[in-house]
């Protein structure tokens, strides 16, 4: 069993490499020249890999802690909160990258804490209430964004593109910082796979298996939010990668987080680079914001999962 899991993971790695290659060379106009390749395509593909990793990693961890395969930083409102964090940092004129990132993280953490607080009854946080809380938080932050829109209407096109999620504005320095946060958080979560596996069995059971539940949950929530915030800080709101990818990966490597986390990271990277390649080639010379495309593909999938669970009586 271990051997087949390992070969699946190797297969996923190879897929990611192929997809990255495809992302580099695929374009609306023949083969790109060296300049485009190195200065336009390469950063974009790298950014796609990182953000895909971060979103899918974040989704996997949220789903594990909340014991629900429908959780995702976008649905829970974490991404929109981080977006507002970024906009606020810009508004305050903080162009320091760390300030930008920590604003995103701060907003993300407070929103997930808030949503969790609203939803929690008798030590449990039912997913319907969490999703509802997420929607409410998103609505609120969307309203905040519209306020920004009307104040900074001159920049509204940039803001709009940012809101819809895009891999075009890859600032190298911000990319390095975000990438470091994503990979570090991912490593922390992977090292806590056993705790995550325990938590999926219920918090009390996890405690009876020797896990310090509150500590583990705090670390994991922070790490998952850090990944979401880092992704949002560089690429805006790209939804549903965190929902769909862990679900697909569970079908391939099973629910054990020791395999699921690396698999989701690789799967997320592939899916996002692939979607982005599609986003910039389907209607040349224009391009669709990649976040719009992931939402177009992700929403039906979400509905399908929701319906399936409802039919199975799992609500």
């Amino acid at each position: 069993m271990q051997a087949s899991l390992r070969s699946n993971l190797i297969l996923l790695t190879m897929t990611t490499v192929i997809v990255a290659g495809l992302g580099l060379f695929l374009g609306p106009i023949g083969l790109p020249d060296r300049y485009i390749l190195l200065n336009v395509r390469l950063p974009r593909v790298l950014l796609g890999l990182l953000v895909g990793c971060g979103l899918a990693g974040s989704g996997t961890v949220f789903q594990g802690i909340l014991r629900n395969p429908l959780a995702d930083p976008f649905i829970l409102g974490t991404s929109s909160a981080a977006t507002v964090g970024v906009l606020v940092a810009n508004l305050l004129g903080w162009h320091n990258y760390y300030a930008l990132y920590f604003m995103a993280l701060g907003f993300a953490l407070s929103s997930i804490a808030f949503v969790y607080r609203i939803a929690q009854t008798h030590g449990k946080a039912p997913i319907q209430t969490m999703v509802l809380g997420g929607v409410i938080v998103s609505l609120f932050f969307n309203a905040v964004v519209f306020v920004f829109f009307s104040i900074f209407y001159r920049d509204s096109f940039t803001i709009l593109f940012y809101l819809l999620g895009t891999l075009t504005g890859g600032d190298p320095k911000l990319m390095v910082i975000s990438g470091a946060f994503i990979l570090l958080s991912l490593a922390v979560c992977w090292a806590m796979s056993r705790e995550l596996n325990g938590l999926t069995q219920g918090e009390e059971t996890a405690f009876h298996l020797g896990i310090e539940v509150e500590t583990a949950k705090k670390i994991l929530f922070v790490a998952a939010s850090a990944m979401a915030a880092a992704s949002v800080a560089v690429a805006g709101m790209i939804g549903f990668v965190g929902l769909v990818v862990p679900h697909m990966m569970r079908l391939i490597v099973g629910p054990d987080h020791r395999w699921l986390i690396p698999a989701s990271a690789l799967g997320g990277a592939s899916v996002l680079v692939l979607t982005d390649s599609a986003a910039r080639t389907v209607v040349p010379p224009l391009e669709i914001p990649v976040g719009a495309l992931t939402a177009l593909l992700g929403v039906p999938y979400f509905l399908y999962l929701l319906k399936q669970r409802q039919d199975a009586g799992e609500f």
């Binding site: 014991r67 629900n68 395969p69 090292a191 806590m192 056993r194 596996n197 325990g198 999926t200 069995q201 219920g202 009390e204 059971t205 405690f207 009876h208 298996l209 020797g210 896990i211 310090e212 539940v213 569970r250 099973g254 629910p255 054990d256 799992e314």
Partner: protein, 258 residues
């Protein structure tokens, strides 16, 4: 092994348990019974450190329970709570292997010795043939046995269960209780079980503790505790109690009024 001294617990301002003193010696088989709301599940949650007492203390091996870390505790006691989540399709063997968590360091893998313990637990509970099946697809009787297998893999000295026979058909109930009895006798585990069903409490346990409105009314052998007098007092039910033809333990019988 486990000692409760003048234990009280309040939920906000409502007292749930009051002044419980109870000594649970090594290798005992204790059933906690009482009507709904009598506090038996709360008592189990206090004894497993899920809840903290408002007053009084709990000593495990003469050391306060509060001084044990989750990990230290999990090596000594396994607990099967009544609410179980199987949202993710972990296989039976994965679930049972989780019983080894408290014995492993972070990132340490299960050794061949750990796998041997897991295999033994699977065989002992007769779920070996289900090992690769996702636990979410099993029947409730099978799930209960898998959870007991996970508890066995923890190699605890105390095993606590909350209503292990609820939702089980009678054949599965008998199988589960016989398994628990053999864990108690052959594997020298101390068993503490919250039970609804007086018949199985009387048939399988050595000691019964009867709770009523948060107080411990009586502790003793099944014959001492399961009496028509005490049942009337606590449950408010008219029942006849007579010795079972299967071994003399008390059996509760009831019928229509008049």
């Amino acid at each position: 092994m486990l000692r409760l001294e003048q234990l009280s617990f309040s939920y906000r301002t409502r007292p749930v348990l009051q002044d419980i003193t109870l000594e649970i010696p090594r290798q005992s088989f204790l059933a906690l019974i009482g009507p709904n709301g009598s506090g038996k599940t709360t008592l189990l949650r206090l004894m497993s450190k899920v809840l903290q007492p408002s007053a009084g203390k709990i000593l495990l091996e003469d050391k306060p329970l509060s001084r044990f870390s989750a990990r230290e505790l999990a090596r000594r006691m396994a607990v099967i709570a009544s609410d179980q989540h199987f949202e993710f399709p972990f296989s039976v063997v994965d679930v049972v292997a989780m019983g080894r968590f408290p014995h492993l360091n972070r990132l340490q893998r299960l050794s061949s010795q750990d796998w041997e313990i897991v295999d033994q637990a699977l065989r002992l509970t007769c779920v070996d043939h289900l090992r690769l099946r996702p636990i979410s697809q099993l029947s409730s009787g099978e799930k209960q046995r898998v959870l007991i297998a996970r508890a066995i893999a923890q190699q605890p000295s105390i095993l606590m269960l909350d209503e292990p026979n609820s939702h089980l058909d009678i054949n599965h109930q008998i199988a589960v209780f016989n398994l628990l009895r053999s864990l108690n006798r052959q594997h020298r585990m101390t068993l503490i079980i919250v039970l609804h069903d007086l018949t199985s409490a009387a048939a399988f346990s050595q000691t019964i503790a009867l709770l009523h409105e948060g107080r411990l009314i009586k502790t003793g052998s099944p014959r001492e505790v399961i009496t028509s007098e005490l049942i009337r007092q606590t449950y408010g039910a008219e029942v006849e109690v007579f010795p079972s033809p299967l071994g003399g333990f008390p059996q509760v019988a009831y019928g229509p009024d008049g």
